[in-house]
């Protein structure tokens, strides 16, 4: 048994301990290092690979239903394109079978795992860079195809955009986004 | 003690031992459920001192109970997870849902097998879980109350393959 010798702990003298704890607290009191973000006055600019809300590129999509199949929470539904193009009685690409279908995401179910992104054989999904969005009613969670094609509108548009950077003093510092 | 020695030692107890290095499966199959306690004692003696998991697998003709044991104290065994496996005969299948009585017929009794908690106390909660999920009655277990599921789930044995539910059964809180 490769038993390494167990470590012996060192206890600190209580008086020294009290003094050092108080001193450390006082140090942080007089020179505070704030690490929090004044949300929503400041909001983060998300990195390009951030897994937030997303849309689908209508031109690239071939309607293969792979995303619907892999979606773990079954948030994606394929809807026939007939419903998509309102006003047109004869759908574009009619008679081409599967290609007439398009995915629509139920945001109430989506878990942002991006499996749909990765299974897509034509790389048709587009991330939008928005993540802090909530809806007021149940219907908004289930957009129609037109609504889904538009990238969601970012809340707090007038806020200061910041990006995080490692900071030796505070852990995460925030600096204005380039 | 290495895997081969362990294999010989356990085969001497009358168990069928297979070892698959690649899939990390060390399987000790005991055909006779009444002998598992003896085999388990032997395993404890050889240094497999705690249980990692207790579970059942529901096959069409039988339910297999598996104790996965491993070792903290014998260095050469620490890389092994030894599955002690025994089949128990299956009770009656679950009947179809009857909407009039809102039941699946009479409650099915749990299937008895010896509890190994006196060999491995670490199996206490794991056997409780296997009991409520598979309906395996561990004889000699000190405390077989349901643990994860609510009390009204008792007798349904949800991880058996014949477990189904009717939508009218779902309660909306």
């Amino acid at each position: 048994m490769s038993e390494s010798s167990a470590k012996e702990r060192k206890l600190r003298n209580p008086i020294v301990g009290h003094i050092r704890a108080l001193a450390k607290g006082f140090k942080y009191l007089v020179e505070p290092n704030r690490m929090t973000l004044d949300y929503p006055a400041e909001t983060m600019k998300l990195p390009p690979n951030y897994r937030g809300f997303f849309t689908v590129d209508d031109k690239k999509c071939i309607g293969c239903s792979m995303c619907e199949m892999i979606c773990p929470p079954q948030a994606i539904t394929m809807i026939p394109r007939v419903q998509v193009q309102s006003g047109q009685t004869v759908p574009e690409g009619a008679g081409q079978g599967k290609k007439t279908k398009r995915p629509v995401v139920n945001w109430g179910r989506c878990i942002y795992c991006y499996f749909c992104f990765d299974i897509c054989p034509v790389d048709a999904f587009v991330p939008s860079g928005v993540h802090d969005l909530a809806f007021y009613n149940d219907k908004d969670y289930r957009p129609s195809y037109e609504e889904y094609l538009k990238p969601p509108e970012e809340p707090y548009k007038n806020s200061k955009k910041v990006v995080s950077r490692p900071d030796l003093k505070r852990g995460v510092g925030y600096e204005p986004a380039p | 003690m290495n895997a081969d020695e362990l294999k010989t030692a356990l085969e001497a107890e009358g168990a069928k031992v297979t070892y698959d290095q690649k899939r990390k499966v060390f399987d000790v199959f005991v055909q006779d459920p009444s002998r598992i306690k003896q085999v388990a004692r032997k395993m404890l003696e050889l240094g497999l001192d705690h249980v990692v998991s207790v579970t059942g697998v529901d096959y069409p003709d039988r339910i297999e109970v598996i104790w996965h044991a491993s070792s903290y104290s014998v260095d050469s065994l620490e890389g092994l997870v030894v599955a002690l496996r025994t089949p128990i005969s299956k009770g009656p299948p679950r009947q179809a849902y009857d909407p009039r009585t809102r039941t699946y017929g009479p409650a099915r009794p749990p299937l008895p097998v010896d509890s190994l908690t006196d060999v491995w106390p670490s199996a206490l909660f794991l056997e409780r879980e296997a009991h409520e999920m598979f309906g395996i009655e561990f004889r000699g277990h000190p405390d077989l109350r349901p643990i994860l599921l609510s009390d009204d789930f008792y007798g349904k044995w949800p991880l058996r393959k014949d477990f189904t539910y009717d939508k009218s059964e779902l309660k909306v809180a």
Binding site: K24, G25, F26, Y28, L29, P32, R34, M35, T36, R170 | -
Partner: protein, 338 residues
């Protein structure tokens, strides 16, 4: 004494009690000190602290908002509770935490009711009444957590009050008076009490932390063990009053501390006529000193976790008791040799 001077005297006293250094000041100070406590914790914990209510002045109105919120919530009396005691106890506890203020003069002319009397003795006696209502609260709530909380309060009450009395006693021995004004005058002649008898000051500070439930002695309210301790079943304004009571107690204790140990209204002249030099200035000095003491004590929240009950009780009967006895000895020696 004629009837008219008596009435004037009484009105004056009432003003003292209600406005300064009494009720109004206490409430304002409690609101400020709660805000400061949160801000200090925010600073140490690398975050903002209260911010959203009145953002321009740094969230200073947060405590007022909390008070308003408590005022408009509904009050629920649990079914098994002792109704009368349950409703009365928080109010009485709050009132009794204020009453010692009558005997705590914050200036030479704030000598209420007993101009030359035993103010130290009376204030110390009255200040120890408050925890009894805490026990009543815990008992009347019909909740196991409140009950355990009140038992803890009782244990702590026993273990801290004797060191407190000893600590005050040592200063009384040294000043040879039971009157705050004479005690302050005595410090004018010598040095502030904290230099003369630092042991007594330390004991008093520890007792203050423990009585008012500051960390690391937040034992009766230990939220991870006892939900909210005594106030588990309370809601609305009664809960707010219960939460404010320790701050009132803290204020009273800090006043006593600054009178006994920090030289009272020291930079101001001891006896000086006139409303500014005689009333306002000394009063302000004492309250500011008390406020500084309070700030130091609420700062401890951001440094310490809490002790266990048995550790607190054991140190109360052990170390703190020994220290307080030592303080008495020091005072006696000083009286003999100085």
């Amino acid at each position: 004494m004629g009837i008219i001077p008596l009435i004037i005297w009484l009105i004056e006293d009432l003003l003292y009690v209600i406005i300064f250094p009494g009720l109004v000041t206490v409430m304002v100070l409690a609101i400020i000190i709660i805000y400061i406590e949160r801000k200090i914790a925010g600073k140490v914990q690398m975050r903002f602290g209260p911010l959203w209510v009145s953002k321009r002045i740094g969230g200073a109105l947060q405590s007022v908002a909390d008070l308003l919120r408590f005022s408009f919530q509904s009050f629920i009396v649990p079914e098994g509770a002792d109704r009368l005691a349950f409703i009365l106890a928080p109010g009485l506890m709050f009132a009794f935490s204020m009453i010692p203020l009558i005997f705590v003069p914050v200036g030479p002319y704030y000598s209420l009711l007993f101009p030359a009397g035993l103010t130290v003795l009376l204030s110390v006696a009255l200040i120890l009444v408050t925890p009894i209502y805490a026990i009543v609260i815990g008992w009347s709530s019909d909740n196991k957590f409140s009950f355990v909380g009140s038992l803890r309060e009782a244990f702590l009450l026993m273990s801290y009050e004797i060191p407190f009395i000893f600590s005050v006693l040592s200063m009384v021995i040294f000043y040879r008076t039971l009157n705050y004004i004479d005690a302050v005058a005595s410090q004018y002649r010598f040095l502030p009490g904290i230099i003369l008898n630092p042991v007594a000051a330390v004991v008093m500070l520890i007792v203050m932390i423990r009585t008012t439930g500051r960390f690391p002695f937040d034992i009766t309210e230990a939220d991870s063990e006892l939900v909210m301790g005594l106030f588990t079943e309370y809601s609305a304004l009664f809960f707010g009053v219960g939460m404010a009571t320790p701050y009132v107690e803290l204020y009273v204790y800090s006043l006593i501390f600054s009178l006994l140990f920090l030289g009272g209204w020291w930079p101001a002249p001891l006896y000086s006529p006139g409303p500014i030099m005689g009333l306002i200035l000394p009063g302000l000095v004492v309250v500011v000193k008390a406020f500084i003491v309070m700030t130091i004590l609420v700062f401890l929240r951001s440094v310490y976790p809490r002790y266990r009950l048995d550790q607190a009780v054991r140190s109360g009967w052990g170390y703190v008791m020994g220290l307080s006895a030592l303080a008495v000895v020091i005072s006696i020696l000083e009286v003999i040799f100085l």
